[in-house]
């Protein structure tokens, strides 16, 4: 069965923020996060592991957060964190799975 994959979303504040303000960023991506230990209900064959193993967040072109995940991160991974707004700039996130698939999304943090 094909599962929807990717479609990453990042939520940043819509309105401009003040310099130095803590901004909460929320993100979501569609991914089955297969553990590799489950069996297909029909064939009883093991379903290969398929999971996001790293997430990198860059703000203004500089890495600010890196996550390394195991298969124990829940399906359709959610990740929220804070960024201290210093200047208007892109907030870019890159998700990479164990099959080499890469998903990217970006949003802008606007500092008034």
């Amino acid at each position: 069965m094909a599962e929807e994959l990717g479609n990453p979303k990042i939520r940043t504040p819509k309105d401009p923020v003040k310099k130095g303000e803590l901004v909460e960023i929320r993100s979501l991506i569609k991914h089955p996060m297969q553990t590799g230990l489950r069996r297909d209900k029909v064939t009883d064959a093991l379903i290969p592991a398929h999971f996001i193993e790293s997430v990198v967040v860059e703000y203004g072109g500089k890495p600010v957060l890196k996550a390394t995940w195991s298969t124990a991160v829940a399906k359709d991974p959610y990740l929220a964190f804070f960024i201290k707004a210093e200047a208007t700039g892109p907030l870019k996130m890159t998700w990479k799975d164990n099959k080499g698939q890469v998903f990217e999304a970006s949003a802008v943090i606007t500092v008034a």
């Binding site: 230990l37 999971f51 991160v73 829940a74 929220a80 804070f82 164990n98």
Partner: protein, 139 residues
């Protein structure tokens, strides 16, 4: 039921990781030294309604300044075998606040441990017991 695949970056863990191996695993991943059980918060219910989707909001009450910040945070579930390491985060002062939230699967009722390491190598931690009705690997 078993859950978890070793992280690519981590060395292969021992086939089973009983609680008394947790100290060695944590020391290998987070560095040696005593762990102070303070500064770390994890708002977790005593019983998880859905073991396949357990909110893990981690907050470390620590400055995030260029020379004094939390550099690494990891979350472990003792009874997630073979690999209790659920997620590891590398943080920077640019975040302004040492906080991350994600959702985890728990294979069984378990101790959940969050360990944080400062840029100077100080370790802080928290241990919570979480009960689950059924394991989260069926999701």
């Amino acid at each position: 039921m078993v859950l978890g695949t070793p992280l690519a970056q981590a060395e292969a863990p021992t086939p089973t990781a009983p609680a008394n191996d947790m100290d060695a695993l944590i020391a290998r991943l987070m560095g040696p030294g005593p762990i102070t059980l303070e500064k770390v918060a994890l708002d977790l219910p005593a019983t998880a309604d859905n073991a396949a989707l357990v909110r893990m909001p981690i907050v470390v009450d620590h400055p995030m300044e260029p020379n004094n910040f939390i550099q690494m945070v990891a979350l472990f579930a003792d009874n997630n075998t073979p690999d209790p390491l659920v997620a590891q985060f590398e943080l920077t002062p640019e975040m302004g606040k040492a906080a991350v939230e994600f959702r985890a699967r728990l294979a069984a009722s378990s101790k959940v441990r969050v360990i944080a390491r400062s840029n100077t190598g100080k370790l802080y931690g928290l241990i919570k017991e979480v009960q689950v009705a059924t394991g989260g690997c069926a999701g």
